[in-house]
Symmetry: C2
Subunit: 256 residues, 2 copies
Amino acid sequence: MSMSPAITITNLIWSFDRDLQCVNLLLVRRANAPFEDFWALPETTMRETESADAAALRLVREKIGLKLAGFHTEQLATFTHPNRTPDQRTLSLAYMTFLPEMPPLTAGYGAVDARWFTLHTPDHQYDFENGKFHFTATTINSQSAYYQQLATRKAKPKLALAFDHDWILKVACDRIRNKLDYQPNILLILGDTFTLKEARHIFADFQQISVDEIDNSNFKKNHRNVFSLVGTSSSKRPGRPAKVYRLNDLQTEQDN
Amino acid sequence: MSMSPAITITNLIWSFDRDLQCVNLLLVRRANAPFEDFWALPETTMRETESADAAALRLVREKIGLKLAGFHTEQLATFTHPNRTPDQRTLSLAYMTFLPEMPPLTAGYGAVDARWFTLHTPDHQYDFENGKFHFTATTINSQSAYYQQLATRKAKPKLALAFDHDWILKVACDRIRNKLDYQPNILLILGDTFTLKEARHIFADFQQISVDEIDNSNFKKNHRNVFSLVGTSSSKRPGRPAKVYRLNDLQTEQDN
DNA sequence: TCAATAGTGTCTCTTAGACACTATGAT
DNA sequence: ATCATAGTGTCTAAGAGACACTATTGA
C-alpha cells in the first residue's frame, strides 16, 4: 500500500581555518540529477548493515579521502517534509561532523567539486562564501512557511542550494548557537588545543557579533568548567603569546 | 544493491493526572509479531503523502480516538542502530506529544491494550508503572553499550519493553530534563492553566527530587519569563487557593 | 481559631559584566 | 622603548537560594 520513502544521510561537515580564523562548511557540487550542477550538502545512502551514524562517518571519508583517527559526529535532526525533494519522496537523516583540522578536498563519488565555504554573519544572516559563490541559510523561522515557499520557488537559480538544504543549514546554525553555553561541541573544530581568542571567534560567529564584544576575562570565567589550561602557545607574531586550552569531556545527552 | 530499511514512527505521548498529580506515558500492548503481547511505545508507519510529524499526530488520534483541537508534537531523535530490531532492519523516527489532558484509552489497530503508565523516580531511575506492570528507562548511558547488551539479551522477559524502547525512553526523559529550564514544553501536559505546585511536581519528577526541594518563591522568580499569571483557582480543599498561570509562547529552535 | 495550603518579602552569597591594569614578546 | 597582543584583578549590579513571615481558605 504505502511505498517506503527513500532515505539519504546528509552530513554537515565543519572545520576551522587557523590562518584566517574562520569557520568553514563543506559543500559539494552535485554530479547527478536532481539538482545536477547545484551546490549542496554532502549526502549518501545508508547501507544495509550500518547505522546512520556510521554512514555519516563513511561519508566524511569518501568526500575528503581522509583517514583521521576520530572525529565527533552527532545527530542534527531528520527532515521528512513531502515537498523537500522534487521527485521521489526522500527523508534526510542529518548529522554534523566537527573535523579537528581543515584538510584539502577532492570531489568524490556523486560530486564534480567539493569546497570549503567560509561562514560570515553580516546583519543577522548565516552566509557561506567561496569565491564567487555564496549561499545563505534561510531566514524563515517557521518550518511550514519554509516548505510552502519552497514548493512555489520558481526558476531555481544555481545561486541557491539544492533541495531544502538552506533550511537544514538554518536548523544547524541555530542548534550550534543554542548549545554554545552548555555543550559547545563546535569547538572540536579547533583540534586538541586552542587559545581563548580562537574560541571567542567561533562563539562570535554563531552569535552574530564581533569578537571584541566578548570580554576575554569574563569568557574565561564563564567557561572554566568547559575548558582546561594545558600550556602556552609559541607564536611568531608580536604580542604576548596566548595560553592554550583543551575542551573538557562533555557529558552528552546521548553518548556514543 | 542496498535495500532500503523499513521506517516506523514512534510516538511518546505524555499526559498529566490532575488527581494524583502525576506524569503519565502511553504504552500499548502489541497485537503482532515481533514482540507480540509485549508492551511498547505506540508506533505506526508513514504514509506516502504525509510528513513524519503528521504521521505522529495521526498516531495520537488512532491510538486514543481523540479529537483534541491542537496538541504539541516535536521531534525527539531518530534511532537507526542495526540491532534495534530482531528481523528486518527498521529505523524509528521518534516524536513526543504533550497532551493537554488525560483521556481514557481504547486499544487501536495493532494493539490489544493501551494504558497510561505513571512516572515514578525512585533512586535515580525513571520508572513507569500501571498495576502489576512496570517498566524502567535504561540506566545505561552509552549508546554503543546499550545496543551491545541488547544483542545479547537472552530470553526476553515480558517484563521488558519491546525493541529498544527502554533506550528511547531514556533519551526522552533526559531530553525533557535538559529542556526544563529554557523550554519546558513538557508543561503543556498541564493544559491551558496550572498552579505553580503542579509545575513544580513535573520539574521534580524529571529532576528526580521531591517537590518540597523546589522552593516556591524561588521557582516563581526563576521562571517569570516562562509563565504568566492569569487568575486564581477555586479549590474545594482546605488551604489558600493557588493562583493559576499559563505557559508563555516559547520561541522554538525549529518552529512549526 | 486552628490546620492546611499557598504567596511574599528579605537577607546573603554567588556570579555576570564592565573595565582598568599588568604581563610578555617582537621590532 | 614602544607597539601589539594577551592575561589578571576588581568593582558593581543582578541573580540564585535559604528561610521566615503573611495570607486565605475549610472545618
